[in-house]
Structures are given as C-alpha cells and as structure tokens.
Symmetry: D2
Amino acid sequence: MNTFGRNFRCTTFGESHGSALGVVIDGCPPGIPLEASDLQPMMDRRRPGVGPLSSPRAEPDAVELLSGVFLGLTTGAPVCILIRNRDAQPGDYDRLKDVFRPGHADYTYQMKYGIRDHRGGGRSSGRETAARVAAGAVAMKILGLRGITVEGRVEEIHGKTIPCDWEEEIRNAAAEQDSVGGIVEVIARGCPAGLGDPVFGKLDAAIAHALMGIGAVKGVEIGNGFCAARLKGSEQNDQMGEEGFLSNHAGGILGGISNGNEIVARIAVKPTPSIARSQQTVDTEGKVVSVSVQGRHDPCIVPRIVPVAEAMLALVLVDSLLEQEKFTAYRGDLRIRMKK
Amino acid sequence: MNTFGRNFRCTTFGESHGSALGVVIDGCPPGIPLEASDLQPMMDRRRPGVGPLSSPRAEPDAVELLSGVFLGLTTGAPVCILIRNRDAQPGDYDRLKDVFRPGHADYTYQMKYGIRDHRGGGRSSGRETAARVAAGAVAMKILGLRGITVEGRVEEIHGKTIPCDWEEEIRNAAAEQDSVGGIVEVIARGCPAGLGDPVFGKLDAAIAHALMGIGAVKGVEIGNGFCAARLKGSEQNDQMGEEGFLSNHAGGILGGISNGNEIVARIAVKPTPSIARSQQTVDTEGKVVSVSVQGRHDPCIVPRIVPVAEAMLALVLVDSLLEQEKFTAYRGDLRIRMKK
Amino acid sequence: MNTFGRNFRCTTFGESHGSALGVVIDGCPPGIPLEASDLQPMMDRRRPGVGPLSSPRAEPDAVELLSGVFLGLTTGAPVCILIRNRDAQPGDYDRLKDVFRPGHADYTYQMKYGIRDHRGGGRSSGRETAARVAAGAVAMKILGLRGITVEGRVEEIHGKTIPCDWEEEIRNAAAEQDSVGGIVEVIARGCPAGLGDPVFGKLDAAIAHALMGIGAVKGVEIGNGFCAARLKGSEQNDQMGEEGFLSNHAGGILGGISNGNEIVARIAVKPTPSIARSQQTVDTEGKVVSVSVQGRHDPCIVPRIVPVAEAMLALVLVDSLLEQEKFTAYRGDLRIRMKK
Amino acid sequence: MNTFGRNFRCTTFGESHGSALGVVIDGCPPGIPLEASDLQPMMDRRRPGVGPLSSPRAEPDAVELLSGVFLGLTTGAPVCILIRNRDAQPGDYDRLKDVFRPGHADYTYQMKYGIRDHRGGGRSSGRETAARVAAGAVAMKILGLRGITVEGRVEEIHGKTIPCDWEEEIRNAAAEQDSVGGIVEVIARGCPAGLGDPVFGKLDAAIAHALMGIGAVKGVEIGNGFCAARLKGSEQNDQMGEEGFLSNHAGGILGGISNGNEIVARIAVKPTPSIARSQQTVDTEGKVVSVSVQGRHDPCIVPRIVPVAEAMLALVLVDSLLEQEKFTAYRGDLRIRMKK
C-alpha cells in the first residue's frame, strides 16, 4: 500500500538507489497556486548532506512538477512530482546483499516478497520520505489558504530534553560507532473543530497511522498521551469556559474529532539501526555472520524526521478538510431547519 | 468512516441507546466454522454489568448471526451480526441534551454534524465497541486456524503496575467521584514473517490506527516504544542467531513487516471522562454551566478495553494475512526461478 | 465486494432464504429527514407477489431503521436498514442442492468459494436487490433536496417496444414454460453540470458499473449508445446555443462529467434463467442431468428491475454529489482570484 | 479518481500537451520479469503517427521504468512508468482556449473545476490512454504466466461489419471533414472459473466500468448483450455437458463470476468529436460562436482503441486474479474438511 489518504491521495514510488523517487497526488483541489519553488524549502530541511551530523550523500532533491499544474495553478488533475536520485552509489551495498542488517527491513522484505532490492534498503529506505515531504509541502499550501499551520520540533535526543547540547550526544554516539534516537513533537494550529471521522476514521487514529508509518517511529501519543494513563478524570478532562477550552490535555481531539484547539502529537524515534559497531546477524543461507554497517548514515535521524512528521500531519489534515467539505452543504440546510 | 480493513472489511453501526448495534463483515473467507456461541465468550468479557467495578447497565450482548453462514460454515457472503440493546435508558440523558460533557465527543459531534444523538454519547459511546468485539471474535477463529493467538492484559492502573491491588485504586477514585486510566498490553503469538505492507500500510501503522481508534486511547507504542527513543542503536537493534532473533525490542515488526517474533503493542487509556464530580462546561447556547455526570459509568474502563484491543489487533492481523495471500502464488514462482 | 460507493457507501448483506436482508449506509449526510415510511413506496414497487405476472412469494419487505436516525433526522452515523424474510421456503430447493441450474450463478459460486448456499441462489438471488432499493430510496430523498429526480420505465419486452400488449408476451412465454427479457431506460433530471470524476471515475463508467452489477443485465448504454457507433461526428456531437445544448445525443455526459442535460441510460435485461422447461446441466459430481426449475419465479423480471435501476442510478448520483462538494470551496476561491 | 483497481492499483497522470504522462502500479506481485522493451510493442499499437488514417502527431511513446524493478524482476514495490511527450504543440490550441468544442469535455471540465487546461483537452485527451496501455502491458505479462490471453479486434466501422473496406469509410468521412465510430470486441481466453466478486464487484460490472471509462465509449455489452433482451430463457441459457458449457451466450460470466469460458465484451465507440466541419457552440462568456476543429486528429479512433480496450480488460482480470488468491488457502482447507 503505497497510497496515503482517501481524498487527497498520495502515491509514492522509487527506491533509495534507483533512478528516481516521486509522488502522484490525486484529489488535489483545483485553483491552488503551485510551482516547484514552493516545495524546495521543505525539501531542503529533510535532504541529506546539509550538516556535520547528517549523511554526506549529496542529493539536491530538486523537484520536477510533471503534471496537474497549468499557468501556475492546480487544475484538479493528478500532480506528479519527480525527484531524480543524483548521488546513488548502489555499489556500496554489494557486500551487504546477502546479509540481513539488524534493525532493518532486509529480513522482512525477503520473507514477504521472496526478493529484495538490497541497495540501501531499496524501497524501505528513509529516502522514500523525500516524496512524502514533497506531497506534504503541497498540503501545507492548501492548509495555508485556510489559516492552518503545522510545525514540528525536536523535543528530546537520547533522553536529553531540548534545549541542551544535544549535538554532543550525537557526536558521542558517532564516536562510539553507535547511534541515538529521540522524540519529536508536531503541532497544528488554526484547525477548525469538526475534522475527523468517528469510529474508524478518527483524527487521532489517522495521525497515529500517519506518524507510526514513518520508518523509525516506535510510539505515538496525542495530547497528554501516556501521561493521561496516570491521571484522574478530573485532571485529564478539559473544562470549558466562555472562550472555549480552559486547557488542552486532549491534544485538540475529542471522540476522534478536532475541537478547535491546537492538535499536538509526539513520536518516539528509535536510534538509527545502521551502526559501524559489529553486530551478529544471519545471511540469506541462514549462516551466522557479523556485520558492521559502514557508509553514509546519520548517527541520529531525529532532526531530519521533523519535516517528515510535519508532512504526514499536513496530509492527514488536508484529507480531513476535504472529507468534511462533503457535509458542509447539509449542515447548512440543517441549521436553517433547526432555527424554526 | 465506519469500515475497518481492506480485505476483511468490518462495518459497524448502532448507537448506545438506539435499538441495536451490529457489524457487517465483508471479505470473510469461505469455509470457516462459525456459530453465535463462538462469539459469546469474547462478548461476555467486554459487556457491562459483570463486576462490582463495572457499569451496572444490564446488557446480555447476545449476538444474532443474520447472514453469511450456511450449515455452520461461512460462505464468503457478508456476515451480519446483530446485538439488540436491551437495557437502554435514553431518558437518563435528557438533562444533558444541551450540555457538552468535558472529555466527551458532545461538542465535537455538534460542531461536525450540526446535530447529535445525545443519548449516552450516541455513536461515540464505548458501547459501539461491542460490534468490534463481535467482529474480532470472528477474526480470532480465522487466526486460530493458522495457529495465531492474540492476548491482552492490564499492565498498569493509575500508574500502579499489575499485579497489585489495583481494585483499590479504582474504588478510591469512585469514592472521590473521580476515575482512573491505565495501560493495556496486547500480544500476538504465532504470526508468520511477512505480514504488513511497506510505506503506508505498515503493520505497526495499521496497529497504531486500530488501537488509537478505540475511544479512550491517547498513545500507542510497539515493542520498546517510547523507551527506544532513549536507547542507542546497539541496544535497540535485535541481533540474529541460528534460531532467529536474539531479542525482541522491535516488538515483532521491522520496516513495517512482521518478523516472526511476538507482536507487542501497548496503549495508554485515559481515565473515564464521565465523573460525578462537578465540572465547568458550556451549553449549546455557549453559556457557562456546571455539570456532574451521574449514571451508570465505569470508574475505570481499562479492564473492559482488553478484549476490544485484542479484537482490533486480531482484525489487523486477519486483514494482513488475506493481503499477503495475494502474493503467495507469485513468491512460489519466484523461488523456483531463483533456484536455477 | 458488497459495498457500493466511495462517499455514500452502501454495504448490503443477506440471502434469499436466510433470516434477513439489509444494508448499512455509511457517509449519509446529517440532517436528512428520514423515517421507515419514506422507503416503503419504493420497496413496494420491487417486491414480489403484487401482480399476476410476478412471483407469488409473499414478502411485505417491511423495513426497520436500526440506526443513524434520531428524532426523524439522520445524524451522520451509519444508517442500518433491516428487512426480515417472511416467506422463505428453503426446503423448496433441496432437490436442486447438487445441481447447477443453467443461467444461474450456482456453478460459479461453487468454483469460487468451494461452498454455496443453494437455497434460491443464496446471495446471488435477485432478492438481494431489496436492500439496494432501500438504500436507493434514501438516496432519492437526498437528491430530492437538490431538485434531482430519477425515473425508469420499461422500454421493450422481448423485442416489442412499449406501449404494446406486452403482458401477452410474458403470458405466452410462461405458457411455454419459458421466460423473456427486455430493455429498461432510466433518466435523471435536474443534475447540475460537474458531476463525475475524470479518467477512472467517469460518471458514465460509474453508471455502467452500477447497472451492469444488477444480476440479469447484459448491456448498458448512455445516450445514443450503440447507435452512436453508426453515426458521423457531425451527427453525434451536441452543438450549443445560448440556452445550452441543442440536443442530447451524449445522454448528459461529456468526458465522463455531467453537462447539465438529462442523464439517460439503457440496460439490456436477459430473460429469467429459471424456466420450467427441461434443460441439460451437470451436478456437483460432474454427471450430466436434466433439470426443470419449478417454483415461484417471474417469467419476466424486467418490470421489477425498474426500481432497482432507479436505485442504482440514484446511488451513483448521490455519491458524485458528495464527491463534488469537496471542490466547492476551492472553486469559489478560484473565481474570486480570476476576476482580478 | 485517477486510480484503477483494488489490488493491482494503477494511478495515471499527465496531460496531452504537458511534459509527460505516466502510471504508478501499486500492488504488482514480486518476481515478474519486466523490462521496458516488454511494453513497447503494445505501446506502438496505440501510438499516433503510424498510419495514413491516424493523427500525424509524432510520439515515439518510449517508456522509462523508474522504479519497482531490480535485476529484471519486479520487487513488489510500486512500478512507475514514464512517457515523455515529445511532439506537444500546445500553441495549436490557443485559439480554442475560450471555446467549448462540441462533443468534448471542455465545457464539463470548466464547470467541474472552474479552470481547465485547454491544450488538446489536457487531462481529458485520449492521449492519457498511453499510460493505461503501459499498465495493461504489465498486466498482460502476469496474465501470460497464468496462460491467459486478451485480444481485441475492430468488429464494425460506421455500421459496416469487418472484413470490408472500411478504410474507405474513414477516408470518405475525412474528405467530408467528418468522422466515424464503430464497435470493438475484446476476448479473454484461458481464464479460470471463479474470478469476480458478487453483488457490487461483479466481473461484468468491473469490465463495464473499465470499458465505459475509455473516453469515446457509449455502450458496453457482455456475451449476447443487447440481443439477450430479445431472446427467451431457453435460448439465452447456456446448458452444460460433460465437457462444460455447450454454448457461450453469457460471455463467460454467470452471477458476476467467470465460468471458465471465453470472456467476451463489445463496446460502442462514438465518432471522433474533433471535426473540421463548422459547428455551433458557445465560448466561456456564453456567446454563440462557430468552431472548426483543425489540427492533428484521427477521423476514426476505433482501431487505436483496440489496445486500450485490451489493456483495460487485462487490468480487470489481473485485479480479479489477485483478489481471488485471498481465498485460495481457505478453499483448500474447506475441501479437506468436506471430504471427511
């Protein structure tokens, strides 16, 4: 399943060391101003090779808008965005082609498909998220027209709350041929109440699906999250006053539907599984071998996950906005009827 | 969106104080032995009125199999399961019809639809999960044929790890006109490697969606979950030996695909929002009022969520099993080809 | 696949000689006035036992509204409609349980599922359409709020154009222990331009899917249909004047999108396959046998298909209306932008 | 909706005079041998500029395989196929940008989206079918592995049954600045019984949807089609003998499920709406104008629709094959159980 969303449907394609990555967005509303340069800033926040703590793979992640835009406006036709791989080095992975790297999807892809593209993880690589960020940048433009913003930040690296010298944590891990994880928070501001669909289409469930689907994520929480499990009802409930809710323990969602407050989600990002330290694993023949994953890897992927998490939250919100439009006309009818 | 699943598609319907609840399962494989009595034990674990700490609403939750079964076997046609409400007391809610209860979906449903069934939360009530459990019990039968089991347990109540006298925690909260939450763990054993679909159909993302979609859940984690964010790569990675994985920090899922280990998920359950203690809120005219939610409520919903979480995990797994069958024939072709 | 529609999603269930039939409608807009008596007139037009040329099976087809309606208005929650079978006589089919009736789905269900409910065709029976008509009647209410009507009529029976004494054609066929088919036309009036989705969601494609999915239908055409294949471009094209289109050869659809004209579709209905005349077939052991299908059957099903075809067209239109709402807000933005 | 299929999901993108067309296939089974040269022969049968009666637009329709294939085999990851437009001449359409061409989607796209890409019909152009044919060629490879073939042919041009000098019919129409339509038949051979899903996923309904979704198609029939409406039950029913069915009036489908016979469908193709002859229409201001559509158009599109119809039928069949695999394991279980 390489498609995300029911209304704003994003289908991504491409492998880490293939010729290109991309996304087709089907269901994009017409009349949205869009050009390639709109997408680049968000692409640049995710791309590798930009800092001393990031993979040195040199990818400009330049986007090409292949379809769905005419005279600077979306037309309602599918928007295809293409990102060519410019610094693929598939040969780097030759020695890993028969070995299942610990913490990676090598073993599970082999078991699922009976075949796998071993070059840098192929389809399971974090590089796939470039396509998601491109789609997310389009979603952001639409949210912007509605006054909605989405913003993420690193909250913790290896257990150290930000702000702190967390770059040192990462450098230390790298020096030990190891890696570290952390926690990212994403917040949407300006969302109207009413987004989300009851029962199986709850907004929080959609967000959990979206964020847990980012490769390295092992946990998702909304509002008070796991802390809520340790509170009393009188502490967790958000009471209301004339101006609206008096607190936001719920993280902006009640019964799976947005309540007009800030939507707040946090994700747990595991440490990068690619480490230079020697680890025990098996090869495709089942023989025990030791492996050391050298190469161009991030000792901490957390900062680069921020724009990906923003993108996924933006995609959920645009999808929910479009879903909600279906009822707008009928809610109008109703109000008139009820006034009588 | 009241349908769950792409292959084993469960559509639930019904309100807390309407005439009935139910589920239609479309995509149930043919030839599965099924009768109403198969479902009752799991229904009984969820239903109210069975213990001193549970709501006294007396619902037998007896299921009627309306379709899709012939001579004791499923036929491949949709299975409709009906559960009549027997102890609905909609009149209890008359005084709440214009008030938005804190922590409930009253306000958000009103904002979404412009209308709401205020009787016990209507569609947003936890009573809706009776239909999910019925569907989950069918899913369990199918999993059983494949040697897969799903089992949940209460791990924590109000911060106290089980085992402990957690009934006292609940009684204390009730005595204070308050409520408590907790943590539930669900584990699937016997799953083959290969379940789950890359990118947007990851097994962990599907589980997060399924579990976060249970009304009171505010967080989901897989395997080490949020703890993974505080570990190093060398600690989190599961190394492999001749017998398979040497640990299970991943919770049985790598790259979104099951690896053959136990699948382990945990959820944070917030305290029941219905409390007798007085809270401030607004009514449908926007006027500030105080509300005390009297009636038949659980001071702690956590134990009753266990079978619901099991049901949701079972639904995800059956759906993934059916999805994976599509490739089975082709993986076979491939193996033969690669041997040459 | 027992669900129809992407926005107004109708899932039907039930067998011809099981305990009940029904439908769950998910995605029904809130605030639509709805009660059981609204549905009965359309149910009555389809139900058996009402005329000398119809099956004598005595089914009142009384509908029960189980959910989704509160104080006479839909709430946005799923609407479940239940129709109990009152005159099922499953024993009538005992002698046919091992025989594949010609022209029926007996053989194909057995090959597909390895099991089948032989009682009157089980799920493949035309009786399943009762649930579709119930859903269609709800759709009609929504269309009515938008000024759209859907109306069908018998155009031909056994090659004789209506009006003519076509009852005689049917009586003759019955006397010969045979059956006849015919052609039904359905027309939607009052549809706005803009319904339908390009490429794979074309309105005519959706109509073709909906109508060809009625059991006995072997052909579907839109507007001039097969005649268009014998015309020249200058004859088939609908030219435009100040008042709009000067003709309607297209049947109200251009490029898969409604153009504001009447939407016109025609379907070919095959003769009822159940005939008393002896036919050669095989049994479940592959042995050649002869079969004569006695019992309660219509010698001509065409008139009873009219409300089913209306229902299916209404379902397509409501689904398309809801789909189109998603863009309404954005088209508005655009108009303002373009005026500058 | 630019995605076709539930299991073998093809999402097409691109406009007639944009930079590229393409398709992403999600759900393609792993292990299928595939390279670009496999697709070219079928692309060549559809592309323009190859005969004296076809549009002179010079498009090589060379395909680029961007993803999903590794070492000559599909991997289970999405297959993206890109087709660059090489001979786009958008300037040719400048004078038509404010005029709604009769018989085209110009007016309806404008009404739907409030904006349209007027260059050669943009997304509504027949050129979009290049992407479908590419996907269809992949589907053909999979069908080939199962011994299934799909073949189409022109049956009629402007009412003249083939064989006949139908090129003369086309030349005459072109000489009169007019165009002609016709009828295409597509047949699938070698399909197993059991494909197709009851009720709303019937194989014939899926075929009708697929074929009616080709731009110029105004009618679809299966087997005897509209003729069946004029036959008696004893004439239409296919009786069975030891070797299987004794005839194929049903066109290989009973109750919406394949019966093992040849699957036979026919479509009515309207005459090309682009004609040089002057026609009356309106412009975007609602003013009546006359238009003569000059340029690079086919006076008869019927022969070029043959590979498109084959592609669409192939896509339906692969999708149904994958759907059916889900039940294979369970049907096996059942047989063992029933033997006892």
